[in-house]
């Protein structure tokens, strides 16, 4: 008994020691980073902050490179969290990071009182939802079904769908079916029969819901559907789209355009869409864009926004 207690105590002591050692070390790294930026000359607000987001945000054209190019914003440090998911939100909330790359439709922005920094220079281009589909699978029937969905998708509607899934913990597939029937799109038929499709999604709930909506609607019209959900970053699933591992994906016009064409300059919804249609490789086509938008955004906590009087991304480049 005595021996066991002793052992447990020793283990606990070692654990806390080791953890504090690791913790101490990581904080040292971050202070090291900020001293580094301080010695660079002028101290911008951004250089005092730690930015968090997905790995690819470091290299993506509208990620760190875009922020630097468009606003001259260079953060003190970048911590890889996840793609607008729980790690990013809880890190921002708990102060492990000061600014985050989140999606504008994310209900947790409102729930936590986060502040979306405005993007006057359209670093993040218009982000209308658009189905990207492999040409071989885009029969008229399929096109008609998907475009019918696109016509009904609104930004607010998207937010509501997300709230149902993320806050009320409803099942994405059920939410998708409900939305289809609410919008009179749940009719069964055979306009897509004979088509075999693999629907993919990125690993964030909104994209999963959209994939489910497409998949359910096509299934109801007789298509044979496979889903590959929660794949990961665009860099990863786009390769799948191109080589035919996936046939259909709910995309965002701005980011997909910039992903394909690093020099794209279009920012307005119509310009972006037009550029995208041209830029897509020959085996992929874009169907109708929806009115609904869900853009990446730089988000900070209310406290940070107040402290540095932040309203737009450009404010981050000010000295403070």
């Amino acid at each position: 008994m005595n021996r066991k207690t002793l052992m447990l105590a020793a283990a606990a002591a070692a654990l806390s020691l080791g953890l504090s050692a690791c913790g101490a070390d990581s904080s040292k790294t971050s202070t090291g980073a900020s001293t580094g930026s301080g010695s660079a000359g002028t101290t911008t607000i951004a250089s005092k902050l730690i930015m968090g987001g997905p790995p690819e945000f470091k290299t993506r054209p509208d990620g760190l490179p875009g922020l630097k190019k468009n606003y001259g914003v260079v953060f003190g440090k970048y911590t890889v969290t996840d793609t607008g998911g729980p790690v990013t939100v809880s890190s921002l909330k708990n102060g492990q990071i000061d600014a985050a790359d989140l999606f504008t439709t994310d209900p947790s922005i409102q729930a936590n009182g986060f502040v979306i920094l405005e993007d006057p220079k359209s670093n993040f281009a218009a982000q209308n939802i658009v189905p990207i589909i492999s040409k071989a699978k885009a029969t008229d029937g399929v096109k008609k079904i998907l475009n019918g969905i696109q016509a009904k998708l609104t930004t607010d509607g998207l937010g509501q769908l997300l709230t149902k899934v993320q806050n009320q913990k409803q099942d994405p597939d059920a939410v998708a079916k409900q939305w289809l029937s609410d919008n009179g799109l749940s009719g069964t038929g055979s306009s897509a029969s004979g088509v075999k499709l693999t629907v993919g999604s990125a690993n964030f709930p909104e994209n999963v819901i959209l994939a489910d909506i497409y998949a359910e609607a096509l299934k109801a019209q007789g298509a044979s559907i496979k889903t590959t959900l929660n794949i990961g970053s665009r860099e990863k699933y786009y390769a799948g789209l191109k080589d035919g591992s996936i046939d259909l994906f709910a995309e965002y016009t701005g980011t997909i355009l910039q992903f394909i064409d690093k020099n794209a300059t279009a920012t307005s919804p119509d310009d972006v869409y037009a550029a995208l249609v041209k830029a897509l490789p020959s085996n992929l086509i874009a169907l109708d864009k929806a009115q609904a938008q869900d853009s990446d955004a730089i988000v900070v906590t209310k406290a940070t926004a107040d402290k540095y009087s932040l309203k737009t991304i450009a404010d981050l480049a000010k000295t403070g």
Partner: protein, 232 residues
């Protein structure tokens, strides 16, 4: 925690209700998870048998073979999954990358187990078998292999249990299996934890591992009836 209070459906114990609500999806994930765990071990064993025999028969083959297979095991699974498509000329998200990676792991583990299992057959037994007229191949299948069964099945158990865990990792890169439940639960934990899919995933993975383990144990008992006396 707040979500726990407001919505009973996100309580960890709600995993069964969650399962009932999403039965068809969960079962299809469980099914593919099972296949992904089992098939690579079976293929791995089929490949490992001749290799293990070779390592036993020609002693000089043993060290390099064991080092090589040991090396495979040090590659992190997530890296191996992504390495497979370019190496095997597959499409980037081809679901075959998971079983291929797992087969490699299984071979790595089982070659050594088979070789050492065969080595556990006593020299006297081998000589006696030869003396009563077994030819090498017949001796291998009817004497050496049966005697090596306990050691080989011990290796199979380890390989199967490890595979169940590794398959779940592939769920984080979009493959359809129980690993999806973890991604799903995690992604929906932005506003308060969403336990049911996570807990369900763990429960199903553990159950699957235990059931597969039990099957191998039973298989071992059936294949080695002469050990019954010892086991009592």
């Amino acid at each position: 925690m707040t979500a726990l209070a407001t919505s009973s459906s996100s309580s960890p114990l709600h995993f069964w209700g969650y399962f009932m609500d999403h039965r068809s999806t969960d079962l299809s994930w469980l099914w593919s998870h099972t296949w992904l765990s089992v098939v690579p071990v079976v293929i791995g064993l089929l490949v490992a048998l001749p290799l293990g025999w070779l390592a036993r028969r020609y002693r000089f083959v043993y060290p390099p073979l064991i080092s090589l297979t040991g090396l495979i095991y040090t590659i992190p699974s997530i890296a191996l999954f992504v390495l497979i498509p370019p190496l095997f000329g597959l499409k980037s998200l081809d679901p075959k990358q998971v079983p291929i990676a797992l087969t490699l792991y299984s071979i790595a583990l089982l070659v050594r187990v088979v070789a050492d299992g065969l080595a556990s057959v006593s020299e006297d037994t081998v000589q006696a078998a030869t003396a009563i007229g077994f030819k090498p191949l017949g001796r291998f299948f009817r004497v050496e292999l049966p005697i090596a069964v306990p050691v080989i099945t011990a290796g199979l158990r380890v390989a199967l249990v490890a595979n169940v865990s590794i398959v779940a990792v592939s769920g984080t890169i979009g493959m359809s299996n129980l690993g999806q439940l973890f991604t799903l639960g995690f992604q929906n934990s932005t506003n308060g934890p969403y336990y049911p899919p996570i807990v369900l995933g763990i429960v199903l993975c553990v159950l699957l591992a235990l059931v597969l383990d039990r099957i191998v144990i039973i298989l071992n008992i059936l294949l080695t009836p002469w050990r019954k006396a010892v086991r009592s």
